[in-house]
Amino acid sequence: MTQLNEAVIEDKLIFEASDFTRKSSSLAPDIDVDTVTKSLPEHLLRKSDLQLPQVGELQVVRHYTRLSQKNFSIDTHFYPLGSCTMKYNPRACNTLAQLPGFTGRHPMAHSSMSQGIMSCLYDLQNMLMEATGMKQVSLTPMAGAQGEFAGVAMIRAYHDHNKDDARTEIIVPDAAHGTNPATAVMCGYKVRELPTNDQGDVDIEALKAMIGPQTAGIMLTNPSTLGVFERKIKQIADMIHEVGGLLYYDGANLNAILGKVKPGDMGFDVIHMNLHKTFSTPHGGGGPGAGPVGVSERLQPFLPVPMVALKDGQYYWLTEDELPLSIGHLSAWMGNAGILLRAYIYALLLGREGMQRVAEFATLNANYLLQRFADAGFEIAFPERRASHEFILTLRKEAKQYGTNAMDFAKRLLDYGFHAPTTYFPLLVPECFLIEPTETEAKTDLDGFVKAMELILEEARESPEVLKQAPYSLPVRRLDDVKAARELDLNYYQSHAE
């Protein structure tokens, strides 16, 4: 009986539960639509079908509640997705950011009706400046990638302002996130790819050969996506500055160093932070993020607007009027204010002491896991190095010996109740797992994760087919991605038209 029930309900889309003869719910206002539309110009009215589902309120609640149960999430599973910092999202941050005074405020409300939210944003700007060692922070970028865009656009604005048009290149390490080169291109730059040496550091000799009057800047993540701290960062900063370039810090891995070392002290001119990582705002199934940018003194005039300023006890918006050289607006108003609020609340709850503990325990958890995996016979990509808040396993040996690749291990982990680490990134380590446990995981969960990997390794040895067919216990088995791309079905009504 249960099985029948599952089969009937599980595969349904909301559209399949719709019936257009069903009358709408109590959620809509009571009004005669036809009377109103008569007052509008006839030739502009909608003649085409409006296919939105007509479903009862309870049935909608049940449909989406059941869908939610098909997800792994931080609240339900260990989620060691490298470079994504899947730490606990305190519920207080969400509850308090949803207070009616915050959610109901129109972005253009008069400043006399805005002092509360502006004071929060102002304090957050200051806290982020302190945490990163930058001179000033603008909160407006709506995601990490937009923060990156703002950062590189500021580098460009700086060179343009100095009439230094020969600078056409941005240097990006081969281990970098894909957003780095994509961003550089959006800002009109050519990308030069910088190789990494076998210790996971930037290849200094290659860098030397690459820089010159054509260098606009370099984009670095530190600790890098290889999970190690770039030890020659000061030398790199000096080299770039000597040729007139600027340094961009990708804040993806800020969680590893919070309260230990500041990007500003490493010589970076501009940084972005991912508040959905380090400051624990929700990942939300893929957004919304928030990607504030911080700058050194020389880039201050170019920051994106608006920002919050304080004068005579009154908060006010800094706009192009005060910052005529600003790169401009990145969103209609001030970015993802509701997400910024959550980050602010998180920062208050942690305080100075808690922020220092973030990097400490993120690093402790990562190094503990690394050692446990090494002891269990897994190959560590950079065994000579200290892990930062994350590290890389390479499963190339297992792929060769048993024919079970990193994706097979990842899918089998799902059966054991663990979300898989990041797979096949960074691109330069074969069959890799990028593992980031975060500071909020307990030792028992880390031990459970190692145990699961040991069991899977055992399975790979004994019966590799088990891995290749995994997962078995999830709502679906392994999905056909090739079919998804070849026979595009992106829209129910288009693909299932009678």
Binding site: K23, H43, N71, G178, G286
Partner: protein, 460 residues
Amino acid sequence: MPYIPHTSQEIAEMLSVIGVDSIEQLFDEIPPELRSDGLDNIPSRRSEMQVQRLLTEKSMQDGTPLCFAGGGAYEHHIPAAIWEIATRGEFYSAYTPYQAEASQGTLQVIYEFQTMIASLTGMDVSNASLYDGASGLGEAVLMSVRANRKAKSKRILMPATVSSVYRQVVETIVKHQGITLDIIDFDRANGTIDIDKLKQQSEPFAALVIPQPNYFGCMEDVHSLTDWAHEQGAMVIGLVNPVALALLEAPGNWGTQGVDIAVGEAQPLGIPLSSGGPYIGFMACKQKLVRQLPGRIVGRTVDLDGKPGFSLTLQAREQHIRRSKATSNICTNQGLMATATTLYLAFMGRDGLQKVAASCVHNTQALIELLKTSPGISFPFGTSVFHEFVITLPADVDQVIEAMAEEDIVAGIDISQYYAQDGLENALLICVTETKSPEDMAFFADTLNKVISDLTGGAQ
């Protein structure tokens, strides 16, 4: 220790496994001269109880005024169930569905979202959402230039009837790629695109942007504009309000061929005003342009057993595969907002959304009727409106807004700041949605009359 579950015994065990004496030793690869432990300007931690009290005070400080402002951010009723469900931990604390089998909830929601947006806009396919409407328009402009190389032009015709703030955002996003935005003037009598001036364009252009309704709340003659642009070999980008589409023709059916790209802000569909974000941009297009779309896209496929399921698809367009050759640097969508939007449209359904839209139109017309008798107020534009309209005031608009704020009313948006050089002085953009009762509108009109009378010394 907040959010750190480790006991001292566990810490000791972990350090011993690693083979170090202290946590501090784990940072020994960072050059000592770079180290800085100082976070002096960050306050000490507060308990949840203290933070709750502080934040409650701050939120109350901004009040819960009666809001008549729109201009791209709209107050609508949000069914209680939406955020109850959207903030379930399984949606709230999941990430981008890289592991499809463990993310079927998020993936199916996005597939349903794409279907609803495609249906609403009358287009073939939608992506999984973008940051917001303004940046979404920027992405649409980039896409139109990518997709219309045969126009041999990187020029975009951007009407002045598109929000000035949106135009600024687009400029920021596209200016480094050699794309220029040529502003098309508006007709002073109608508040819509000046079609005569538009038709004087002789140089080729890649795309024309058509807002519906436009920033002034007025309705553009979308059919003839779309056909004209297509005759010039250009693409058409429809910038639309999703609630208005319940009553107004979908961009996919404008003119004889429909627009090429439809884009807009989905905030009106269940997302709170929240000081301007997080919101959610939507973007839909014709099938033949699907490989030019930026952002995530979810497809329906089957698993090993032939059972239907969902996964991210067409990833070869994206930055994590294509790197410097990607269609955009966009990494994620606005997942949580897309979830809320999908819930809103599912709860409302076709009939519900039509009623919301009709109620907006009805209330807007009612307030216009009330204000017609107000001394000194004039209506610069004669065109039909959806749920926003412009009035010009016989007093300083900023002073009016400030005085209205003292009566706990957000009166609207001073648009003279954007259009003063176009002769729109002391102009106020007012929005009325289904949330306003007849009493609210009467209170607004009475207060406005009184404020104007006070400011003009009773001259009006």
